[in-house]
Each structure stands twice: as C-alpha cells, then as structure tokens.
C-alpha cells in the first residue's frame, strides 16, 4: 500500500453530512458549519482510514489519491 496517499474534498459536491469525520476523526475535523477540513499530513499515515472516510460519503465528495 502506498504511503503517499492524499485525501481531498471536492467542496462543490460536499454537503456537510459529516460521515467522514465520524469514520476518521484523526484525519478530518468539521469546521463551524459542519464541512470537513483535512488534517494534512495525516492521510499518508492511515490510508485505510482515508479510504473508509471516502467510502462513507453519501455524495462521493472525498477522493484518495493515488
């Protein structure tokens, strides 16, 4: 598994549901309006969690690269 994974949010697709932050609280915190902020640097440490967060999104607004 690559250690260089990058987790990103497509903010136009994101609706602030917040599932991602529930699944991966170490990677993602929610801003005051409930929209995700990615804690940069953490994604590579837990690619599995990043993938889980992306899968949890009902709008498929999260992306894990590569």
């Amino acid at each position: 598994m690559s250690s260089k994974a990058i987790l990103s949010v497509n903010s136009a697709t994101c609706d602030g549901v917040g599932m991602c932050a529930l699944v991966a609280p170490a990677l993602i915190t929610l801003d005051e309006w409930g929209f995700p902020v990615i804690n940069s640097g953490e994604a590579s440490a837990s690619v599995k969690k990043a993938r889980a967060a992306a899968r949890a999104c009902p709008h498929r607004a999260l992306r894990v690269e590569p």
């Binding site: 497509n10 903010s11 136009a12 994101c14 609706d15 602030g16 801003d31 005051e32 309006w33 409930g34 929209f35 902020v37």
Partner: protein, 398 residues
C-alpha cells in the same frame, strides 16, 4: 497600433458611443494578416497572456489543444461579470471585427473547428453588434468558421471558465474543480480554448503584426461614472485617474475580488508595474467623501449573494463576513466581531471549488488595512463623517 482612438465612456448598461467599426474600416486600419502557421509563433514570441486576469500564456493553452489533436472549440468569453469592468463590452460593441478576426485566427492556428461567443443573458447591445458584424462578413464572403452565440445566466460566476465549459457540455453554468485542463478535454471532451474577449482581440492585433504588450484596456470607475481607456505600461495610475477628474483617497485594483490601496501608495506607480494587481484591468477610485468601510461592506454583500452556493465554506462564510462587515460599517459592531472576521476568513480561505471566496477575503483583508484609521470612528454606535448612503458605481455594459 491602437484599438480605440479616445476614451470610451460607459453609459447606463451600454457603451455610450456610436455603432461599431465596419468591416471596411477595420480592414483599412489593420491590413496585414499573418498565415495561421505564423500566428502561433507570433503569439508565443510576444508572450501574449490572458487578459481575463489570470495571465496564463495563450501559446501554452494553444499548444495543449494542438497536442490533444485539435478539432476543438474556441470560446470567446464575453460574460464580463465584474461590475467594475466594461472593456469587453466596449470591444464587442465598438470593435466587433477585431474580436471576430481574433477568434478565427485562434481557431485556424490551433486546428479548432468551431467558435462560441459566450455572453450573459440580456447582453443585447453586444449581441446585436456581433450579429451585425457577422452579417457584414457573410456578405463580403469572409471565410469564417461556424460561430454560435450562446447566452449563459447573467450571474457573477457564469463567466468563470470551468462554468462555461460545464454549461456548454449541457450542465449548469457553475464552476467546478477541473483535473484535466479544458484545452485538453473541455466541452463534450473536445479541446476547448476559453479566452477573454481582450485576449481574442489581442490575437487579432498580434496576427496583424503589432505587439500585444504595447497597450492594455482598463476600466476606470470614478464618481463621474465608468470609462474604458487604452493605456500604455509607462503611464502612471495618477495620470490616468486625475485626467478623469478624480482625486481619490484609495483605489480598489483588480475588481471586487482585488485589493485596496492607499492612493498615496499607488498613484505614482506605472500601469506596467500594476498589471497583475489590476487583474482584468480594473480600477475603482474611491472619492475622499465616501467611506471605504461602507463600500467594502456593500461589495462583500454583493460577492456573498454571487456565491454559486455549491461549497459550504463559501456559502456560509461569505454571508457571515458580509453581515459582520455591514455591522462594523454601520457603527453597530458587537463585541467579538473583529476576531470573528479573522476566524471566518481563516475557515473559508482556499476551500472553494473556485477562487470566488479567496477574492472576497483578499478584498476584505486589504480594506481592513487601508481603512484601519477609520475603524475607531465606527465604534460606539456612530460612524465616520464620510458618506455611507452609497450605491455601488457601475453595473458594466451589456
């Protein structure tokens, strides 16, 4: 070789001048036309850059479209959303053949097969001028590529290039995060070159042998109204604005998403040095009699209302910034409003699919510095003595 001989006054919703240049007048003024193969070289050699404010080298976009196999679309973007800009309307209405020649030269040089003129809905004067020019060219047998005039919503963000590509592909005219450049894969997957109207006009000038860096169109908004002026890089900002009868306290450069500057800090600078700061060539001179904080609050209200409402931080953040700033300008600030501005700004920064919120933050940040001395007068349920009952000058020229 100049585009306009005089300054172009902008009237209510249109360019306040006579009809556009005819085909015969246009050809008489710009007789040379390079071969398509030479135009790319010319555009590369003169380092023609996008005049919509991004300054991306046109030749690099063109090369991407060529490498992608050609057969694509050239979009002349005439959706001039910025209320403080009217240069594109001036070109469309007064120099339609310069624009149409530029569009065709761009298409031929890049192997593109179709042209689109993208306008705001209701841009009647620009549309009529171009339609009239097309009829003239057909009658004269000018071998133009097929051109469609397409009107998008008259919203602030419908002039953003990813929104245009999305709309022309059958989607909504809203910005989107692109992973592949439109020049490679744009409208319906075809290479798509979206260029600002002035860029297209400059291609035309470059193809007729002149240097695009020699002059630049700017729109100046003063208390007397809006004027489009063709400027040279050596000219100072002061010489331009004072000639139009204004002695301002500050200037907003680069439009509503630009930056405020104290007049004494920028007035002596040459326009060439200010090119990037002026973005699409936009200068708003703030009269000494008007409160800069009040103008800033109004612009923020405008920008918040103009959000595409796709991205949460932009939607909620800009609304609240506008509300807080309006309270501050009206002398109704609450305890904690100042740190609140900073906190929201940090939460919104860089989090939109497009740069709309970042522009709003940039404008606000510069306003709080430039008008810092006015802030104390707006505390304790009062305001400064300058005018607050302002309506934003200029709605562009459709």
């Amino acid at each position: 070789m100049r585009i306009f001989d005089t300054a172009v006054p902008i009237g209510a919703n249109r360019v306040a001048m006579d009809v556009g240049e005819s085909l015969a007048e246009h050809r008489a003024r710009r007789p040379v036309m390079l071969e398509p193969s030479q135009v790319l070289d010319r555009v590369r050699d003169t380092d023609l850059r996008g005049y919509g404010g991004a300054f991306f080298p046109a030749a690099r976009k063109w090369q991407s479209a060529i490498n992608a196999g050609g057969g694509g679309i050239v979009v002349a973007n005439g959706a001039e959303s910025e209320p403080a800009s009217a240069k594109d309307a001036a070109l469309l209405q007064l120099r339609p053949h310069l624009v149409l020649d530029g569009l065709n030269a761009t298409a031929r040089a890049t192997g593109s097969v179709e042209g689109v003129l993208w306008l705001h809905r209701g841009a009647a004067h620009s549309r009529v001028a171009i339609e009239r020019a097309i009829v003239e060219r057909r009658a004269a047998g000018v071998p133009d590529i097929p051109l469609r005039i397409v009107e998008g919503p008259a919203s602030y963000l419908s002039g953003e290039s990813s929104a245009i590509v999305r709309a022309l592909s059958g989607g909504p005219a809203l910005p989107i995060t692109r992973t592949v450049p439109a020049a490679v894969r744009g409208v319906d997957g075809r290479p798509t070159l979206v260029h600002n109207i002035e860029t297209i006009a400059q291609v035309s000038l470059a193809a007729s042998g002149s240097d695009p860096a020699a002059s630049r169109l700017v729109t100046v908004t003063t208390s007397a109204g809006q004027t489009v002026v063709e400027t040279t890089p050596e000219q100072t900002l002061a010489s331009l604005v004072i000639k139009l009868g204004e002695d301002p306290q500050a200037a907003l450069l680069g439009g509503y998403g630009g930056t405020w500057h104290r007049w004494d800090d920028v007035s002596g600078q040459r326009l060439g040095e200010l090119e990037q700061v002026m973005s699409a060539g936009i200068i708003m001179a703030l009269p000494r009699s008007t409160c800069g904080l009040a103008v800033t609050a109004q612009i923020l209200q405008y920008l918040a209302a103009a959000s595409a409402r796709q991205c949460g931080p932009c939607l909620f953040g800009l609304d609240e910034l506008a509300d807080v700033m309006t309270r501050v300008a009206d002398g109704r600030a609450r305890r904690g409003d100042a740190p609140r501005l900073a906190k929201i700004s940090a939460s919104v920064s860089g989090r939109g699919a497009c740069h709309h919120p970042d522009g709003a933050l940039r404008m606000l940040g510069s306003a709080l510095q430039v008008f810092a001395a006015d802030l104390p007068a707006h505390r304790r349920r009062s305001t400064c003595a300058r005018r607050h009952d302002i309506s934003l000058q200029g709605r562009g020229a459709a």
